[in-house]
């Protein structure tokens, strides 16, 4: 698949279809795959594809909006949902970029993998896909790890936008399926059932750890505002120093800003240096939107986002 990918990119670059290609390349260690930008045919060999290609590259397409020439991007099915939303939110035009869809057989959660292997990730020499399991090279040996144990949470509920057409495909991108008894909103429901006091205590404990590094915002595909309201001076929503008591404001405002736009790519939670379960917060809003307004972000280009839309017969508890 990697070869097919390189071949497609090489052809696009030599034909002049694109100026840039955003893909993945090997990072500083074997288990680190990082985004990379290919502009020359000679660089095409850098491109890789595998179960550790975690980043949602659609964010980088946004950053190339002002460049001359088209940009090509490699997307997994879940990342295509981000592109759908960005087109819908008038941030991108479909004609401005070339999409290479890739068949994804599930992505590895590095934290889970480390726990499962019992050895530091630095010792991992590479991961291959082996159907129901991942083949992990550790030192000399190859260890088989069941997918169920190390998959990213979102991969259990893989959803592709059905009407989104890729310009090229590598393999056949189909939603990944795995047998498991998990339910998508289990984490949210578990919290919902707790008494109010305990929920408050739970979130206070989580928010207290936030160091306001803004990584969740920077990595989020939906955070494309040229000036974030948290960075504004007038009005100043948050104090300049990252005050502990304002962490709650930060996270709740982020949650409402993502309402109807969060595609659950899980990047925020992955990059959080202190491990705040952010998906559990954003998924609550997703769940409510699905229940109340029957809407799922990133699936269809035609549907109107729920918060810029209304129905005369919406539920009205406010009479």
């Amino acid at each position: 698949m990697q070869d097919k990918l390189r071949e497609i990119v090489r052809k696009m670059l030599s034909d002049g279809d694109i100026e840039y290609f955003v893909g993945y390349c090997q990072g500083s260690e074997a288990h680190r795959i990082v985004p990379c930008f290919v502009t020359e045919e000679s660089e095409v060999e850098k491109l890789v594809w595998g179960p550790l290609c975690l980043q949602n590259l659609s964010k980088y397409v946004l950053r190339t909006r002002d460049l001359d020439g088209k940009v090509g991007v490699l997307v997994k099915g879940c990342d295509a949902r981000a592109l759908v939303e960005l087109i819908k939110q008038h941030q991108l035009e479909r004609d401005d970029f070339v999409v290479v869809g890739v068949a994804c057989e599930g992505q590895v959660d590095p934290r889970k993998l480390e726990r499962e292997l019992g050895v530091p990730l630095e010792q991992v020499g590479g991961i291959e896909d082996g159907g129901d399991e991942f083949l992990v090279h550790v030192g000399e040996e190859t260890r088989k790890v069941a997918k169920e144990a190390v998959l990213r949470d979102k991969c259990f509920f893989c959803k592709h936008p059905p009407s989104f057409d890729c310009d090229y495909t590598v393999g056949e991108p189909e939603p990944f399926t795995i047998e498991s008894d998990r339910s998508e909103f289990a984490g949210v429901e578990e919290l919902e059932e707790l008494p109010l006091e305990e929920r408050r205590a739970f979130w206070r404990k989580q928010f207290e750890r936030c160091i306001r590094c803004n990584a969740c915002r920077e990595v989020c595909y939906a955070c494309y505002c040229t000036e974030c309201l948290f960075d504004r001076n007038v009005p100043r929503w948050l104090d300049r120093p990252p005050l502990l008591e304002e962490n709650e404001i930060y996270h709740l405002i982020r949650a409402v800003h993502l309402a109807g736009r969060c595609i659950d790519c899980g990047e925020c939670e992955r990059v959080c240096p202190v491990g705040i379960p952010l998906s559990r917060l954003y998924k609550k809003v997703q769940k409510d939107i699905a229940e109340l307004f029957d809407y799922q972000a990133g699936m269809e280009l035609e549907t109107v986002p729920p918060l810029v839309n209304f129905d005369l017969d919406d539920q009205d508890p406010f009479l």
Partner: protein
């Protein structure tokens, strides 16, 4: 219309409640309540907005997190919006926000939305009374992270 005793409620706790009232209906309703000399508890601070849809969720989140005891958003009845459809957006947002706030441990009574028309002075007074009573019963807002609760009676 109920007459409310400002001295009632546990431990003489006087909540601070922020009210956003839409210019065209609810603010006029408040005005009517005023000129009709209806009795209301004095715990509310009213901010006039051009439409209930002007109230960004950020306003509510920040107010509650900074220590206000309750936020009440008042708008025209659905269908009566001066801007035709503003309050329909408020309705969707309000519903979502209320659920989100509950999820992080803020009582649903602390953030409420009500529809009050320009002629409903009595309903305005009644709503203010009801909400004040509910929040008094809840006690001070402790949603904020390590901040001191608003001082009773502090204005």
């Amino acid at each position: 219309m109920a007459v409310h005793d400002t001295e009632s409620g546990g431990n003489g706790f006087e909540p601070k409640i922020l009210v956003f009232a839409c210019n065209w209906c609810s603010y006029a309703g408040a005005d009517l309540a005023g000129v009709s000399r209806l009795q209301m508890p004095a715990n509310c601070r009213v901010i006039r907005v051009m439409c209930s849809a002007r109230v960004r969720p950020e306003f509510v989140i920040t107010a509650l997190s900074k220590g206000l005891d309750g936020v009440l958003v008042l708008g025209c009845h659905p269908g009566d919006c001066h801007y035709s459809e503003g309050n329909y957006f408020t309705r969707r947002r309000g519903l979502l926000l209320q659920k989100l706030l509950q999820y992080v441990g803020i009582e649903p009574e602390r953030f409420q939305v009500r529809w009050i028309s320009a002629s409903e002075g009595a309903k305005f007074a009644e709503t203010i009374g009801q909400v004040t009573d509910q929040i008094k019963a809840l006690g001070p807002n402790r949603s904020q992270n390590g901040m001191q609760p608003a001082e009773p009676g502090d204005s």
